[in-house]
Amino acid sequence: MRTAQTAGYAPDGGSRWHRLGRHMRRHWPIPVILTLIVLMMVPMLLALFIAGKSRAQFDFDPWGLTFPIYYHQTFPAAWRVVSQSILNSVIVSAVSCIGVLFFGSLSAYVFARFDFLGKDTVFVIILSLLMIPAILTLVPRFVVVHKLGLFQTMWALLLPYIAAGQVMAVFLMRTFFTSIPSEYFESARIDGASEFRCFWNIALPLSKHIAGVVAILQVLGTWNDIFWPYLTIGTKKELFTIPVALLIFNDQLGQQIGTQMAGYIIASLPLVLLFAFTSRLFVEGLTAGGLKL
C-alpha cells in the first residue's frame, strides 16, 4: 500500500524539491491564471469589503478590517433605494427577451424554410443593420420615440429593444433552423401538422441551445444599457432601470459609501444568479469554435 503510493507520487524517484520543481514547470500557468482572475475581481471584492463599513468606520480606517461588519444595515438600506429599479430591469429584460425570441424565431423560421419573392434581399437588408453603430441612430431614435408619445413610458425601452435584438436573433436562429433536416418537417406535414405546429413543436424544441444564447445576449444587453434608458426615462423615478438608478442615486448616496457599494452588489446579483444557471450554455456557446472572421 505504502510503496504503491510512493511510486505513484514519484515515478522516477528524485527528492521532494525536485518533485516540486517538476510540478511547477508543468503547472505554472495555473497560479498565473488564478492571480489574473483574482485581479479581475478586485473591483467587486473592493465593493464587498467597503459595503461592510459604516460611514464612521470608512472615514476612520478605510482600508483596514473594521468590526462590527454592517452588512445587516447597508444591504437593506441599499435595497430600499434600488428595489423598484431592479424590478423594472427584470421586467424590461424579461419582456424584451420573450419578444425577441418569439418574433425573431418566427422570422428566422420563415427565412430558413421557405422560398419566396424577395427573400434574400430582405434578409440582407436586415443583416445590414449589424453594420450601423448604435450611436448613429441614438438621437433620431429618441426623436421618433418622443413623437410616438412613448417618452417616459416602459414602451420606449421595450419596443426598440425588441426591434434591435431581433437582428442577431434572426441571424443566429436562421442558421440553426437551416441545419435541421427537412425530413422532420415533411413527415410532420404529411401527418397533418399545420406549419405553425411544425415551428412550435419541432423547430423550437430543437433550438433550445441557440435560443438560450440569444436570450442571454438580450438580457446582458438590456440589463447593462446605460444611456438609452437614461435618455428616455428622464426624470421619472418609478421607471428607472438599474443603471439609471445607480447613476442618479450615486450622488445622493455618496455620503453613505457602504450603502452605495451594497447597491452595486445588489445590482450585479441578478446577472450572477442567471449566469450560475446558464454558465455552461454560455461558455459552450463562446467556445464551440464557430466564432471567427
Partner: protein
C-alpha cells in the same frame, strides 16, 4: 408515396423543390403575380419584425444621414447647409479635434487589449493539462464580464478618487506619496487614467473566443511540431497565431466597432471633463444634441463615426487578409 410527398411539400410551401416546380409550371408574366401572391403570407409573418426595424432602426438611420446636411436647432426650421457641418467639425470645433485624439488613444489601446492580451491568456489556459482547472478558468474568465458596466465604471471612478480612492491609498502605502493625484480631475492625466482603467485588462469573452480557436487546432499538428523540436514560442508564432487568426480578426473588428463609438464609460467616469479633456466623439454628439440642441451637427458627428467604423473595419480586414497570404 414519394410523389404524394413532393406534392404536399410543394402545395404547402415546403423546401425549395416544390417551389421550383410551381415556378416552372406557370408562365413568366402571370408568374410574377403568382409569386407576389404566394409571398404575401410570408411577409405577413415577417411584418412585426420588419415594422419594428423600420420604425426604430432604418428610419432613424435615414434621419441621421439626412439631417447631417442640415443646420437644425430644435424648435427652428431646418436649413440645408450641404457639407458645412463636416467642414466645421474639422476647422472650427477644437473640442471635436481633441475628441479625435482621445478616441485615437482609446482605440489603439483597446485594439491591443482585445487581441494580444486574450491571445496570451488563452495560450496560458491552453497550456494547462488539467481539464477541471480549464473548466473553472473558463467560467472565471466570464464571471467579471457579466458585472454590469455601470457598476464597473462607478467602482473605477471610486478607485481613482482623489481623497478616498484605492489607487492613492496603495501608492501612499508603498511610499510613493508624491505620485498620488486626483486621477480623473487632472486634465493632463484624466484621459490616460480613463484609458487604462479596468486593470488587469483581460477581456474574458475575447479570451474564450481565442481559446476556442486554439482548441480547434488539430492535435496531430501540435504533436508533430513538438516531435520536430519546435520550442513553445516557435509553435505559438508559426502555428497557433496563423491558425487562430480568424478569431483574432473577429476580436479586432469588434474592438474597432466598440471603441470608435465609445462614450458610456466616459460619461459615467468624467462626463468628458475636466475642461473637456476626456471628450470623445460619441459623447460630443450627445452634448450637441441634448445640451446645445444642435441636432444637425450632432447627426453629422454620428455620420462621421459611422463612416470611420466602416472604413477601419474594411481596411483592417483587407490588410490582414493580404498579410496572411
Amino acid at each position: 408515396m414519394g410523389l404524394l410527398k413532393s406534392w404536399l411539400v410543394g402545395r404547402f410551401g415546403g423546401v425549395g423543390t416544390g417551389q421550383q416546380v410551381a415556378r416552372q409550371s406557370v408562365g413568366a408574366r402571370s408568374g410574377l403575380r403568382t409569386r407576389i401572391r404566394h409571398a404575401l403570407p410570408y411577409y405577413a409573418v415577417l411584418l412585426p419584425t420588419l415594422f419594428g426595424l423600420f420604425v426604430f432602426d432604418y428610419y432613424p438611420a435615414f434621419l441621421a444621414i439626412y439631417h447631417s446636411f442640415f443646420e437644425w436647432d430644435i424648435g427652428l426650421p431646418a436649413t440645408w447647409v450641404g457639407v458645412d457641418n463636416f467642414v466645421r467639425m474639422f476647422t472650427q470645433d477644437r473640442t471635436f479635434l481633441r475628441s479625435l485624439r482621445n478616441v485615437g488613444i482609446i482605440t489603439v489601446w483597446i485594439m491591443f487589449q482585445a487581441t494580444v492580451i486574450p491571445l496570451v491568456v488563452a495560450e496560458l489556459i491552453f497550456a494547462i493539462k488539467s481539464i477541471r482547472w480549464k473548466y473553472w478558468f473558463r467560467i472565471g474568465m466570464i464571471l467579471p464580464a457579466i458585472i454590469p458596466g455601470i457598476v464597473v465604471f462607478l467602482l473605477w471612478r471610486f478607485i481613482y478618487d482623489g481623497s478616498v480612492g484605492l489607487l492613492n491609498a496603495l501608492l501612499t502605502g508603498i511610499g510613493l506619496e508624491s505620485w498620488t493625484r486626483v486621477w480623473l480631475g487632472d486634465p493632463r492625466v484624466a484621459i490616460w487614467a480613463l484609458t487604462f482603467s479596468g486593470f488587469p485588462w483581460v477581456n474574458g469573452v475575447n479570451t474564450l473566443i481565442t481559446l476556442a480557436g486554439l482548441q480547434n487546432i488539430n492535435a496531430e499538428i501540435l504533436e508533430s511540431s513538438e516531435l520536430d523540436g519546435a520550442s513553445r514560442l516557435q509553435r505559438i508564432w508559426r502555428l497557433d497565431i496563423p491558425l487562430v487568426f480568424g478569431q483574432i480578426k473577429l476580436n479586432l473588428v469588434r474592438a474597432i466597432i466598440a471603441s470608435i463609438q465609445i462614450f458610456e464609460v466616459v460619461f459615467v467616469m468624467t462626463e468628458g471633463g475636466p475642461i473637456k479633456s476626456t471628450m470623445v466623439p460619441g459623447l460630443w454628439l450627445y452634448y450637441n444634441a441634448f445640451n446645445y440642441h444642435r441636432m444637425g451637427y450632432a447627426s453629422a458627428i454620428g455620420v462621421f463615426i459611422f463612416v470611420t467604423i466602416l472604413l477601419l473595419t474594411l481596411i483592417s480586414m483587407r490588410i490582414f487578409r493580404e498579410e496572411r497570404a
